[in-house]
Symmetry: C2
Subunit: 293 residues, 2 copies
């Protein structure tokens, strides 16, 4: 059984707060310190029993003495935070993150921090902030752990144990493969959702009130944090631009079939999407169970 | 209070069956006849108490003697069905439909049927078949009624009364305006979802298992009936191709911002989408309440 006497959550948002709650719930930690930009948010988190101590603007103080240090801010500032804490972390501590981006960033963080293990729990979706935090957020979700050649094997095992304990199905993946896969199944859908909503805005924003469940579902992730997703998309832009290219080809194939009036080919195009998407229903029974990345 | 002694449901799928159940539940009809291609499906619907009599392959027999005749098949065969029933319908009956497409089709149907009122309840989404039917399906949804100059005023009032009675918020709209609006907020999102899933298929379909809630939400409508959506998209292709053009421009603007490395402009682009999409949450409290079209 994994246990970390003290845990530092650097960035107390939906994911960080939910991990804190889940670790407490399962008895995986005793004391939790929190760092964040907003003193008010940290005080709220303390009042809700998510963290025990508040360290606004001082990640090094939050990380000091912690057995597990969790980077849970937007990915764009991970490197900066890692540098800020490197001299204050406990010698045998494990450092990890909850970011949607791995790739070269994992190797960078491994250079800065002695026992870093990159983790990406596929949970959270478009929700933000501690208001939506729950000790059950990770239950039934995948968690991708990036295991590099340099990674400390015992730290990797400990993190796998932690994620299993809070209800995740753990999968190991190369950091660069992770970024390709999630460019396709997470980052691209975000760009598409932003573009879809802005298409309504370009036409007449007031028309959005006529939208039904289909539009609501397909655009829900456009409510995700613009700051967070700006960072993710920019840091993964090469993979992302490759897949926006494939996506546009698919859309243009449909446009061409509409213009040429080939009903059979159009129906086959739709049906191949229906079949592939339906796999997600069949695999999980409850298709809404898994979280978002 | 509206009341139709006998109602004919031509096409007993999710929407037709749900309307039958809702009308029974509210005491708006006494007897319901059903037409459909599948005798087996009609027998199931009869066993579940959705319809009272089955008329496989004979819409004229189902429509005979009905006070309300509901076209609830895929829109692609509405005209054919209307022609098949025109000589057998009761003289003072009202004819309506549940289709996602209005425009010229409404004028065509008004030529064939004496008291036709075009209706589009924004409900149902990607679900199909009587298994998902519910007397509560329409509660809290919009229903668009297309009122043309030729439309019979009392028939329009009766339909508005019917939809209100089953829980809809009724809005009147010109048939051609309807098709523009729904090309934007319903048909375009369907095409985008089909293209998104096929982008995964083109890359490596097995990667879909890594998808989280974001991908699931944004691609859910790709499970909609390929046959139904083939018809809708083809019949509304001019509006649809205009909006795929606007959509591609939006996606290309995001691509350009990714390439040029302008984080501020990219964040503003995402934020304008977040703000507009959030309107759907604020307006309804429960953002999942409204149905799809």
């Amino acid at each position: 059984m994994v246990f970390f006497r003290k845990t530092a959550i650097l960035g107390v948002g939906l994911l960080g707060a939910s991990l804190a709650l889940a670790m407490r719930d399962k008895g995986l930690t005793e004391e939790i310190s929190g760092f964040g930009r907003s003193a008010e948010n940290l005080e709220k988190a303390k009042a809700r029993g998510i963290i025990d101590t508040c360290h606004p603007d001082d990640p090094a103080a939050a990380a000091a003495g912690a057995d597990l240090v969790v980077l849970a801010t937007p990915v764009g500032i991970f490197t900066q935070i890692a540098k800020a804490i490197r001299d204050s972390i406990k010698k045998d501590s494990i450092q990890t993150d909850l970011g949607s981006l791995k790739g070269g960033l994992v190797y960078e963080l491994e250079e800065i921090l002695p026992r870093f293990v990159g983790c990406h729990p596929i949970a959270g979706g478009e929700r933000m902030g501690i208001g939506a935090a729950s000790e059950r957020l990770f239950e039934g979700s995948k968690c991708i752990i990036t295991r590099t050649e340099k990674a400390n094997a015992r730290a990797v095992d400990a993190m796998a144990g932690l994620w299993s304990a809070v209800g995740c199905e753990v999968e190991f993946m190369d950091p660069f493969v992770h970024d390709e896969v999630y460019a396709l199944v997470s980052h691209l859908p975000h760009l598409v959702a932003y573009a879809l909503v802005n298409t309504v805005g370009d036409t007449d924003g007031d028309l959005i009130r006529f939208a039904g469940k289909g539009f609501r579902d397909s655009s829900r992730i456009a409510m995700s944090s613009p700051e967070l997703w700006r960072d993710i998309c920019r840091m993964n832009k090469d993979n992302l631009l490759r897949f926006t290219g494939v996506f546009k080809k698919n859309l243009e194939r449909i446009e061409a079939l509409l213009k040429s009036g080939e009903p059979g080919a159009l129906e086959r195009e739709f049906d191949s999407a229906r079949k592939l998407r339906s796999r997600l229903e069949n695999e999980n029974g409850n298709e809404n169970k898994n979280g978002n990345g």
